[in-house]
Structures are given as structure tokens and as C-alpha cells.
Chain length 218, copies 2
DNA sequence: ACCTGAACACCGTTCAAGT
DNA sequence: ACCTGAACACCGTTCAAGT
């Protein structure tokens, strides 16, 4: 009933283990990549490192600070956005597309950013590129700010929604019932609405429309 | 040291309290409205009702089922989207605007939907209205599906991002540093980027561009 | 400087037992 | 049918204590 306590440190026979701040951060990152932020607990992280929970606190402060540091790491890894194309519209659309892919390629980034409310941080590389291109296209001051923000909102909003919708097990039954009711008389429409959206096309249509309308008024 | 246990049921001297499923749901809704889904715990809810935690489980199953039920309640309360305007563009833009406001007026809905991944459920009233209007504007089949989804993604993505960004204590210092660097040479732009975005205008520009481009190709 | 265990104040959920 | 307490398996965080 007592006496045996279950061995606490899997890789260490006796005495204190040691970790570096760097080891804490990269193991944390691995856990987040495997199962999102909700898969990262301080206690699981400590166990993974073969160390007492409280050591983690010494190295990184607390869970929030740990997540913030992870966000910055991913951001550094993302680097800058590559711009292609020759016309202003094409170049700005290319920024939006590159941003979307850079973010979608890092699903854990969205997980981190959502929990910590650091959405604006996530968009920094995109903002840099947009400011430059809109300036090159002749927009300055508040007009430029509006243009940059428009595209930025489009990218960030779209991607976060896209991320939230994919991975869901199809539409819940309640939604299907409503769809049938709504699309009666247009069976082709009803069928198209069951399928997952073609997000590449949706994104392209939206971004191109916005950018064209922003630039043609200049 | 022992003997006194602190009175467990604030409103009930002795014996078992009683709750209805309805009381559980509306108290839960109040807690969510006060402090989001993370302010709702089964134990807090039970305490609020003066009942043992386990009673809650008898009435609603578990926490996820409880949240799902709350989503449906808010949705019923939202009702249908009112359409105004005479031209197709104006009518569809009005749907987007009404949807945005209906959702922003219910911040707890976003909180619920985020945690449960029910984004598509949140957009159902909007979808109904959009299907009707695009049909009236002459779009059918897969073209109509693309159009509906475009506007729907725009509204949902924008609103969720808008909600995530507001309530933040301004831009984090790291962002400010980057902005100064990026906007050098255009002080008016730099100033505009510090300010919170004018989301009404941003939304309007984006929606109008998208809807016009969807309809003009018809 | 870095690690430790104990403790506090929380969670969601299950289960056998009461009436 | 509906409520109960006890128990399990988790959380994040603080603190005094060790080396």
C-alpha cells in the first residue's frame, strides 16, 4: 500500500537532474507541435525533461512567459516574406499568399497565438512587406495605413478561420439539416455546400478584389 | 483545526437542493457572459446553484455538452438576419454588416464557438440570407456556393480577428519597435499604425470589394 | 545558481450510495 | 428521478529548503 512510490525520474537514477533554458523551450515546442497548447502542461514538460516541475519555473518564469517565448521563436523562424510579381497588384497579392502559407505551414503558431492573444505579433512580417509595397505603389500616410490593415485583416482573419474549420469532422448534423432547407430548389448548390470549401480559390478571390479596389482609387 | 467545515450550501440550511436543467443552463450562460468560457467551471457553476457538482452532470451530461447547448441558445436568440437595400450589392453588403453586428453584440458567442470549434454553426443565419440573395441576384449552383462562402469567410474571419484584437492592452512593445523601423520616412503612416484600426471602414472596404467582384462577373 | 518536495487552490469526471 | 460525498487523475503556482 505504501513504501513503493513509483520511480519519479525516468532517465536519472539518483540526485538532481539539470536542464538549460534552451532545452526547456525546445521540449515545450515539441509538445506544442505534437498536440497544441492544450497538450503542454508544466508538469508534463517537467516529466519529459526528467526534472521537478519547479525547475521549469526557475528557467522560464511561468506558463504564459513560456508560450510568449515560443511565439517569438516561431516568428524568428518564419523570417521575412518573399515578394514576387511585377505589377503592384500582383506583388501585394503575392505577399498575402506567402503570408497565408507561412502561417498555415506552422499550425502550432496559430495555437500559440490564439491562447496568448498575440495575433498582431503573428502579422508583423506581413506588415513589413505590405508597407514597403504599398509605398512603392504610391500610397502614403493614412491611406497606406488603411491599405496595409485591410490586407492584413484579410490574411489573418481568413487563416485563423480556415485553421479552425479544417480538422473538424465535417459539418455537424444540425448544419446539414439547415443547409437542405436553405438550398431547396438548387440541388447543385446544396451539394457544393456539403463539400469543404476550396479555400485557395476563396482566398484568391477575396484578396484580389480587395487589393484591386485599394489600388484603383489611388 | 477540524470540526468546522465551512458551510457548503449558501442558500440551503439542510437536505438536498434542487435545480432544473433550465436553471443550470441560464446560470451557466450568466457565468460565460461575465467572464467567458474560461470563467465557467463545473464546480463554480454548482456552487452558484447551491448544489453538488455531480448534480450538474446529471442534468447536462458534461462540460462540452453544456457549452454546445449554450451555443444553440445564443443562436436561437440571434434569429434571422434582416436584409435592407434595393440593389443586389447593397442587399448583400447589408447582410454582411448585420451579421457582423449580430455577432459582435454577443461576445460570449465567440468565446463559446472558439472553444467548441462551432464556427460554422455561428454562420448559419448568415448563410441562409446569403443563399437567398445570391439566388435573387441570378447566381446558382457552384457559382452561388463560391459566392456564399466568400462572404461568409469574410464575415466570420474578420469578426473573430476583430474580437481577438480588441480588448488587448494596445500593441505590445515589441510590435511598436518593429513599426517604427518599418514606417521610417513616413511619420504619418507610423502614427496611423499605432492607433487601433478603424474596423468599420476596414470591413466595409473589404466586403464591398468582394461582393462587387462576385456580382460583376455574373 | 539551480534543483527539490510539500502544499495550496483549483480543474473535469466517475461511481456507488442515498432518498 | 434526482441528489450526495468520496475518489481519481489531472492542473498552475508558491515557498522554504537543500546543494
Amino acid at each position: 500500500m505504501d513504501g513503493t512510490r513509483a520511480t519519479p525520474k525516468p532517465g536519472n537514477a539518483a540526485g538532481a537532474s539539470r536542464v538549460t533554458r534552451d532545452a526547456v523551450l525546445s521540449t515545450a515546442m515539441r509538445l506544442v507541435m505534437e498536440s497544441g497548447t492544450e497538450g503542454l502542461s508544466m508538469r508534463k514538460l517537467a516529466a519529459e525533461l526528467g526534472v521537478a516541475v519547479t525547475s521549469i519555473y526557475w528557467h522560464v518564469g511561468n506558463r504564459e512567459a513560456l508560450l510568449d517565448e515560443l511565439v517569438e521563436r516561431v516568428l524568428r523562424d518564419m523570417g521575412t516574406i518573399r515578394v514576387t510579381g511585377t505589377t503592384p497588384v500582383a506583388r501585394i497579392v503575392s505577399i498575402a499568399q506567402a503570408s497565408r502559407h507561412a502561417i498555415l505551414d506552422r499550425p502550432h503558431l496559430i495555437s500559440l497565438v490564439r491562447e496568448r492573444g498575440l495575433d498582431s505579433l503573428m502579422m508583423l512580417p506581413t506588415r513589413r512587406a505590405l508597407v514597403r509595397e504599398f509605398a512603392a505603389a504610391g500610397l502614403h500616410g493614412t491611406r497606406a495605413a488603411l491599405a496595409v490593415q485591410s490586407v492584413q485583416y484579410q490574411v489573418a482573419g481568413f487563416v485563423m478561420l480556415e485553421r479552425a474549420l479544417t480538422g473538424l469532422p465535417v459539418e455537424p448534423p444540425l448544419v446539414q439539416a439547415w443547409l437542405d432547407e436553405v438550398a431547396e430548389g438548387d440541388p447543385e448548390l446544396a451539394r457544393s455546400m456539403y463539400d469543404p470549401a476550396d479555400t485557395d480559390t476563396l482566398f484568391d478571390v477575396a484578396v484580389r478584389s480587395i487589393v484591386e479596389s485599394l489600388l484603383h482609387e489611388a
